[in-house]
């Protein structure tokens, strides 16, 4: 199903996007333990805005793991992994069309499904590598600074972010299949996923937001791993994949 040669080509082709994503995530990961003491003093001493829940602040400052989770899983990782998913996905198929390489690729002994599946596998692999590697970097630097971090739950919550980001990637790839220009596809995908974040702004609909679920709040606070959400996302991911394959198969080059 997956073509190793094409998979490798995709890794090479997306290496710059990967390294930029990993660099930014890595910097965001490293500054969390480095700035913990400073942030704690600052947040503890300033007058808080009336819009900030003092309970949230005290929760964040109650322990280093809570602080790290709030800054990493619930903020930096969720936001930037979503962005990386869009950046990686927007050129996945549109790039072949826009740069005129699709006829060359599709004249090789590969089925269209195989091409699509291999591209998705490579993109999701790179996304996962950036997320997991930067999370490990956070754990490592935290340990070097002498902070104890619960690595298991931390990695588990990063996996939730990863699956959510993979869904965003698959959705963006569908748009990239339909719109034959990577930049336009990226803009449309950003608008689409921006709209998908709207439920997250309302208390009654917050749980329907993919970005809210990616933070794995209930898992961190109550220890309930979001199996149901992950199964639902896998189902949505499958449907997005099949939709992308359908459109990719229809195209003439």
């Amino acid at each position: 199903m997956i073509s190793p040669a094409l998979f490798f080509k995709e890794l090479v082709e997306n290496r710059i996007k990967f390294w930029i994503s990993f660099f930014i995530l890595g910097v965001l990961a490293v500054i969390i333990p480095l700035l913990y003491a400073f942030a704690g003093n600052m947040l503890g001493s300033i007058n808080l805005s009336p819009y900030v829940n003092p309970g949230e602040i005290s929760f964040i400052l109650s322990s280093y793991p809570n602080y790290a989770w709030s800054q990493w899983t619930a903020k930096n990782l969720t936001q930037f992994a979503s962005l990386a998913a869009i950046v990686l996905g927007m050129g996945a198929l549109a790039g072949e069309t826009a740069y005129g390489t699709a006829p060359f690729l599709l004249s090789k002994p590969l089925t269209r499904r195989q091409v699509y599946a291999t591209k998705m596998a490579a993109g999701i692999f790179l996304l996962g590598l950036a997320i997991v590697a930067s999370t490990f970097l956070l754990i490592l630097v935290s340990a070097m600074k002498g902070y104890t971090l619960q690595a298991g739950p931390f990695i588990a919550s990063a996996i939730v972010v990863y699956v959510g980001a993979a869904v965003i990637y698959l959705g963006t790839a569908v748009i990239s299949t339909i719109i034959p220009d990577p930049v336009k596809a990226g803009v449309v995908a950003a608008i689409f996923w921006g709209l998908a974040s709207v439920p997250g702004y309302f208390r009654g609909t917050v749980q329907y937001s993919i970005f809210y679920q990616m933070k794995a709040i209930r898992y961190w606070l109550q220890g309930e791993f979001p199996w149901l959400v992950l199964i639902l996302w896998l189902g949505i991911g499958f449907l997005l994949f099949e939709t992308g394959v359908y459109y990719w198969r229809q195209k003439d080059f």
Binding site: P109, L110, T111, F253
Partner: protein, 299 residues
Amino acid sequence: MNNWAVQTKALCKNYGEKRAVTDLNLEVPAGSVFALLGLNGAGKSTILKMLMGLIHPSSGEGFCLGMDIRTRGMEIRQKVGYMGEETRMYGYMNVHQAVRFCSGLYGSWDDGIVKEYMDTFQIPGQARLHQLSQGQKNQLALILALAPRPDLLLLDEPTTGFDPVKRRLFFNAVLREMVAEGKTVLLASHHLEDVERVADQVGLMHRGRLVHTCSLDELRAREKEIRVVFQKEPPADLFRHPGIVQVKQEGMAYRITISDGLEEIWQSCSSFPHYALDVISADLEDIFLRYTEEGWHRD
């Protein structure tokens, strides 16, 4: 495999109201070099792309090496080499990387062909593809199409951007690796010198239709031209013979293109006072232009 390397039955491709290919009934004999001749937009590239599965036919049937193009595209692409017009490859790869990438996609791959023709065409292995000239890219595309040792090679305007030396080297490679091995080449081109050099069968395309198919020898043998300079204006009925397909006049000089009844027409012309009278084989360019001017009404 039957006797046809390529066979289509009423194959059509429409883009909305526009008909790119109409009722194509094409039969390319196995082991031949078949050239599709036509002006730009005649539908040649569309046919090759349909055979390779790059474009979906609107209706009709098509077979490559006996395999249905709608259902066995993957197997077809294993056995058919394709070189598109102005092939665009991955510019960030160097030549060696492009070769490695392609070799990983095929079940069989002949590194000897790659090495030999990289040397022949003097393609630098470390050069990035975006640094190569269009001619070098086309040469590399040919190497990548030949290396899996295909049974059928589809070439779409392959010599665009070539100088005469490169053109000769290119076709020498095609002749040696495909024709000498008894394999089939289907060439789409509007470069008549290319076609005359390598093809043994031609199909003339006009506005999406295949208007005429025959062997190149047959076409040349059948299509003769009498060049005559009369001493005075000849009678109009001299040119009313059904075998005369075209008459061009410049003063008292006439070029009479004939598809049938050469002897009879020759006698008629020679019986009228003239300064010069010659019979020559019509050249391919004249034939091509006449077909494209007259279009499919002729057949």
